[in-house]
Structures are given as structure tokens and as C-alpha cells.
Symmetry: C2
Subunit: 414 residues, 2 copies
């Protein structure tokens, strides 16, 4: 079964805004076993809405419109879709009364254009919107002899999502062939994309019924696995078997098999092991701490640390000897180790992390090029330093460095 | 003149990937005075590509395809567009020779499917691609009696952008009516969206020829202004006059009129005034430092600071008296001021900033609810504390708090 998503709103045709509703809807539809075959973004022009709807009707079983259901003259989704379906709009007296009442209860007079929101396509089911004024609509019927399900949903995500979840999923499910979808996501650190794919491709190719998507970001690879089967257990077993085979191949490079981020995993491990963490960051400038503290409840195991951008602060906050910086330079194996040890001791943490490197674009040299980063990790059993040369721009190098440090903490806690 | 952008690739129809090329192309087209009226995203199906192309040909003067120009069986943009235009594909011997030569120079044999990349739509101009193997194509002609310009561009942004800039802009410009576009972007901090719009709407409504777009984010509002005129100076004068009027109304709430971020502006001011900055962050957990150090060269005026997540570290790194924390709580006006003063002194900075608050979702109380944040700023002339109650989730509250702190530093330096 094939779906098409049509986002409506001229603001989505500027350089500043993007349709993101379709990502959520795609995920939901995929979970139901429905693939998205096309997406369109059209402005607030009735003829463009109608043209997109007519094209979708020729080829897609499920057609979802988002946006353009408001009360202004520019909100023309109802009109455009009705035109494509060659159906009339009728004013629903119950919706109209509700809108009027909402205005009156606030002591306001309803403007005439608000009456538009009570217009319903002939034969459509009204989808209540507890989070906004514009109700949604569900139309199903045969067009050119083929079954079509059409949804008109509001544009704001906090209105659209609950409406889809409470009003649309069940209505869709009963019309779909009986099948069950199982998905898993694996996250991998400590290897590059081609290295990872080289090792896992021979495995996932043995599972042609499981759709495997590989996404690579700085310091992290994601494997998204999805399959369907007539019985839920069958689908789950199939995807779980593939997950087990990949985990066996990649070992502890797999840091999550349920979608958790690396900072979440580190937080779990710290809590589980009863350990605490402190960091001293130079080139990452707070990014590592920011990621660790983005997790709610992180104050239980993350103590804090220092941003030691200047050499003086490396000495002041993490007790790095001035002489060491003079001898080896601020970006060195020695200073990374001293930062980790110093901040661990100062903060009274179980684990200390120190990062120093050249994030660029300036400040590099032949000996210490942009992208060179030293990561120190200090614990009861000693100190380890990892040297890396990361590619990319300042932002990417900083992300890589934070990712590497988090992965070192994870491995230390395993 | 109206444009339509069609992105091709089945990966763009998953929940994980989004077409971002169209944002760049929209900005470029707008700068030429061309509006984007529709966008479509289709998978690697020839019939879907052809259908999108046929619909676009009925209504859009400029049609840009991105993606689907590679050598695999799935790359069907050439075939789909040729079908819609009812034109043949011919194999270009020069391109074919180049592809063959590229393989031979690496000692590889060219696979047969690579020959696809030499297929050119009859009458098309080949657009060289110095950054990849797939050349682009430019087709212009009359369809149903109307002038149409059609571009086939590669999908990877680092191939698509240079090709558009060097091969397409000038070809487009000569076909466009002689007009000049002027744009300005204002960024505003320290007021809400409705308050801002209430004050500037009466002004920009007097300039109906200038297109004004308001975008609101946490702690920041952007006003994008754009106009066109037959002469460049005329367009620039018009948009500059509107900028002056808005700046007069909003005063020092406007922090940038050239697109710079708040952290960039703070960096400029620090450098210009020869001042240095240090921060002590509790609830923002490193976000403020991370933003400040995201600017290349920030080490000249940003010294660093401490992430004082635990109470002990508030005392250890910023000399906040233990007794003060016991009496007033860690989230208090007093502790914010002490953090700012303590970190300023410890780091030897001109300006010290302290942030303490409840980022949530847990940790709130009736007296100190989630979203309550105290921002302290200490300088030679004394210490100031601002209390705010920010709405939203943990991430949003932290962003608001960092934004507020940056704005306080900006105002202090003005």
C-alpha cells in the first residue's frame, strides 16, 4: 500500500521553513506497513492544491494533506481537495456552533471568515481537534474504481500528531492487509561507514526481507532495520535474528540497539555502576558537558567540570603544570592526560575526561594540524590517551571529539 | 516568474532524510527575483519523475530537478524528464570518453551502467561537474507555447551548489526581466513575537512592495525583508529605509542587521572593546560556553569557565559560599550573582556570567518551578541579576537561558 503526503503553506516555500510533519507521518505510516511514494509541498493556491490532489489520486492509496485548514482567506485545503474529488463542501452546523461558542465564551464576536472552518467535504468524517480550532477530515471512497483514503490534518505539529494518532491510525489499520511490522535501530561508534558496511553487508544481504538503511554521522553510524510478516512474533523474530548476527560481528562497537543516544547510554552506565564523571574541555568548549547535561537527571552522576580555553585556566582549574604546557604545547598527549587527572581529582569524580585539540579553521600547524585532538580519560586504574585526526569543519571536528570522549567513557564503564 | 523544485531519491521518502537542497535553491532563486511555487519529492520511479515533470511544465517557468543522475539502475531522472518532454536521449561521445578515461586512469574497467551518465536529452546543454561524475543538463524551449527552463542537477550538495552557481545563475539571469533584488535580515532579542509584530507591523505595512517574513525562535526573532526594483540602488534604498524605520522603533532590541548570530555579535563586541569573558553554568550545563566557542577565534576574548552542576563545584570553582546555597538554595538570585562574581575573579575576566535554574522536566517545586532561571552578570561597575520564567521543554529552557545571558553581555558591552 502506497501513501503520498502533501504539505500546504506558502511559508514552506521560503528558504527559512521546511515541512517536517512528513518525517513524523512517514515513520507512523512505515510502522503500519505503508510506504511513502511521493511528497509535495504547495503554496496557498487552490489550483495547486487541486492539481497535487488529482495527481495523488491517480497513484496513491493513502493521501494525507497537512496545513491550510485555518480561518483565513489563504487557507484553501478544503476547497482544493473538494475540487479534485469533484465533491461539494457543506457547512456543518455542529462545528459552526462550537466555533461560535468558543468565541462567545471569551466575550469575542466571531468573524465571518471563521465560518470557513465548519466547511466539510460531502461524505467526510469530521476529526475533532482538541488542541486547536480547525477540525480535520477523513474521506474514503472509490476514485476511478480504486479505493482511496484521504486525510486533511492541521499544520501545527502539536495539533496534527495527536489527531493522527487518535483518529487516523486505527481507521487506517482496519483497511490494511493483516501484517505486522517490526523495527530495530542499532547505533555504532568507533568505526567508519565503509568499514562498518563492509562487515555487516554480507550479513544483512542474507535477510532480503528486512529493509536495512545505513545512516552515517560524525562518529556514529545508525542501522535502521524493518520487516513485516503475517504474525507479530514472526516479524520480531526475523529482525531480532538479524540484530543478533550484526551485534556478534561488530561486538562492543554497537552502543545501542533501542535508539538511545551515546550520552544517554553513558548516563545509564554511570548510574548503573554508581560512578561519577567530571570533564575538562578545551577545543570542544562545553559541547561534551552540554550533551551530558541534556539528559534529564544527569546531575545524579555528572558533577560538572571546567572549560579551560586559556592556558591559565588549564592550570587554575585542572592543575596542569605550566611547565608541561610550555614543553609539550597545550595540544598534546601529556596535557590531555593531565587535564583528565586534574579535573577528576579536583571534582572528586570516579572518572575524569580531558580534551585538547585544534578545532580550526585557524590555529593549525604542520606538526599539529586542524583536526588533531587528544582525549584523556582518568580513573582509579590509570589514565589513557587517544589521539585522533578528525576531518571536516570546526563544528564537525568538535562533534567528533565529544563523540570519541563519550565512547571512551562508555567502554571504560562496560 | 515561477519556479518548481523536484528532488529525486527514495532515501528522501524515509523518516530519516530530508531534501535540504531546495532551501539553498529557493534562496538563490529568490535573490534572482524568482519565487518558488511548488516542491515535489519523488522516489526512483520513472513514472513518478515523469508525472512530476509534466505537472510542473503546465505551470512553472523554471523547473529544477536534483538527484537521480548517478550510474545505477535506480538513477532515472534523465529518462523521466525526457519522457515528460517527449524528447530522446542520445549518448554524448565526449562525456562517455571522459568517463572511460577516468576509470582507465585509475586502472579500473568501466562498468556498462556507467555509460548511462553520458545520456543527454536531445537539445540539452551539458553542465560540467568538476566535483563528481554525473554532469548536469540545461534544457530550454517552448512547451505548449510557453517558455520553460529546465535544469537537471546532481543530488550531493557539494556537487549541486557549485554547478548551480557557475552554470545556472547567469543562464537564468539573462532570461529574466531586468530587475534587482535587495534583502536584509534583522535579528531581535529581548521581546516576544506578538509584542515585536505589534510594534513593527504598522511600519512594514507602509512598505507593501517589501516582502516581510517574521520567524520566531526561543529568545530570538528574525525579520527577513526582500524587495525588487528596476535599479539596484532603488531596491537597496527601499529595503534600507524600512530597516532604519524598524531599528528606530525597536532600538537596542535589534542585535544584528546583517544575519550574524548573537554569539557572533557578542564576540565582535568583546574584541572591539578589548574585554574578556568567563562563565559559570549550572542549568545550561555548557551550552553558553559551547555557543561562544563555536565562533572561530573566540579564544582571544573567551577565557573559559566552569560547569558547576553540583553544589560542591559552585563553591570549588566559583567561590559561592556554602552557607549562601543552604540559605537561599542553589537556584536563587544570590547564587547567580555569586557565580558571576566568583568566576569573573577566578578567571581574571572583565565580565563574569553565572546561570542557575530549573531546566526540568523534574526538579521543579511550587516555589521554584521548571523554567525558573536566574542570570547574573558581573563587571567592574557591579553585578546585575535577571530572573526569567521560560516556557517549554528542557532543551528549549536551556536555549532561552543561554540566549538571555548572551543578550545581557551584549547590552553590557554596548
Amino acid at each position: 500500500m502506497r501513501a503520498e503526503i502533501i504539505a500546504i503553506g506558502s511559508e514552506l516555500l521560503t528558504p527559512f521553513r521546511q515541512d517536517t510533519n512528513s518525517l513524523y507521518l512517514t515513520e507512523q505510516l512505515n510502522q503500519l506497513g505503508v510506504e511513502v511514494s511521493c511528497k509535495a509541498i504547495v503554496g496557498d493556491q487552490r489550483e495547486h492544491i487541486a492539481a497535487a490532489a488529482r495527481l495523488a489520486l491517480t497513484r496513491s492509496d493513502v493521501i494525507i494533506f497537512t496545513g491550510g485548514l485555518g480561518p483565513t482567506e489563504d487557507d484553501l485545503t478544503r476547497e482544493g481537495v473538494a475540487e479534485a474529488l469533484q465533491l461539494h463542501l457543506r457547512s456543518d452546523p455542529k462545528i459552526l456552533a462550537e466555533i461560535k461558542q468558543r468565541f462567545e465564551s471569551r466575550g469575542w464576536k466571531m468573524h465571518a471568515n471563521n465560518a470557513k472552518q465548519a466547511d466539510v467535504i460531502a461524505g467526510a468524517t469530521v476529526l475533532p481537534n482538541p488542541n486547536g480550532t480547525a477540525p480535520g477530515q477523513w474521506v474514503s471512497g472509490k476514485y476511478d474504481g480504486r479505493d482511496r483514503m484521504i486525510m486533511l490534518l492541521p499544520g501545527p505539529p502539536h495539533e496534527m500528531k495527536p489527531m493522527f494518532e487518535t483518529q487516523c491510525i486505527e481507521r487506517l489499520r482496519v483497511k490494511l492487509p493483516a501484517q505486522h511490522i517490526a523495527t530495530r535501530t542499532l547505533k555504532i561508534a568507533g568505526m567508519g561507514e565503509s568499514q562498518c558496511d563492509g562487515r555487516v553487508a554480507p550479513i544483512y544481504k542474507r535477510f532480503p526481507d528486512v529493509q536495512t538503511t545505513i545512516l552515517a554521522g560524525p562518529g556514529e553510524i545508525q542501522l535502521h532495520l524493518r520487516t513485516h510478516a503475517p504474525w507479530a512474533q514472526q516479524a520480531q523474530d526475523r529482525v531480532d535474528t538479524l540484530v543478533d548476527a550484526i551485534e556478534e560481528e561488530l561486538g562492543d562497537c554497537v552502543f545501542s540497539d533501542n535508539g538511545d543516544s551515546l550520552e544517554q547510554i553513558v548516563s545509564y552506565y554511570l548510574q548503573m555502576r554508581g560512578k561519577t564523571l567530571a570533564v575538562a574541555e578545551s577545543c570542544t568548549g562545553g559541547l561534551l558537558a552540554e550533551r551530558l547535561t541534556s539528559i534529564s537527571g544527569s546531575s545524579r552522576h555528572f558533577l560538572g567540570g571546567a572549560i579551560v580555553y586559556s592556558n591559565e585556566l588549564k592550570t587554575k582549574f585542572a592543575d596542569v603544570p605550566e611547565k608541561m604546557i610550555q614543553e609539550h604545547g597545550a595540544v598534546s598527549k601529556e596535557v590531555a592526560a593531565a587535564l583528565a587527572e586534574g579535573i577528576r581529582k579536583r571534582c572528586g569524580a570516579t572518572i575524569g575526561v580531558g580534551i585538547t585539540g585544534v578545532a580550526g579553521p585557524t590555529g593549525g600547524s604542520a606538526e599539529k594540524p586542524v583536526g588533531l585532538v587528544f582525549h584523556g580519560i582518568a580513573a582509579e586504574d590509570g589514565t589513557e590517551v587517544v589521539e585522533r585526526n578528525f576531518p571536516g569543519d570546526r563544528q564537525r571536528i568538535r562533534w567528533f571529539a565529544a563523540q570519541q570522549a563519550l565512547d571512551m567513557v562508555r567502554r571504560k564503564l562496560m
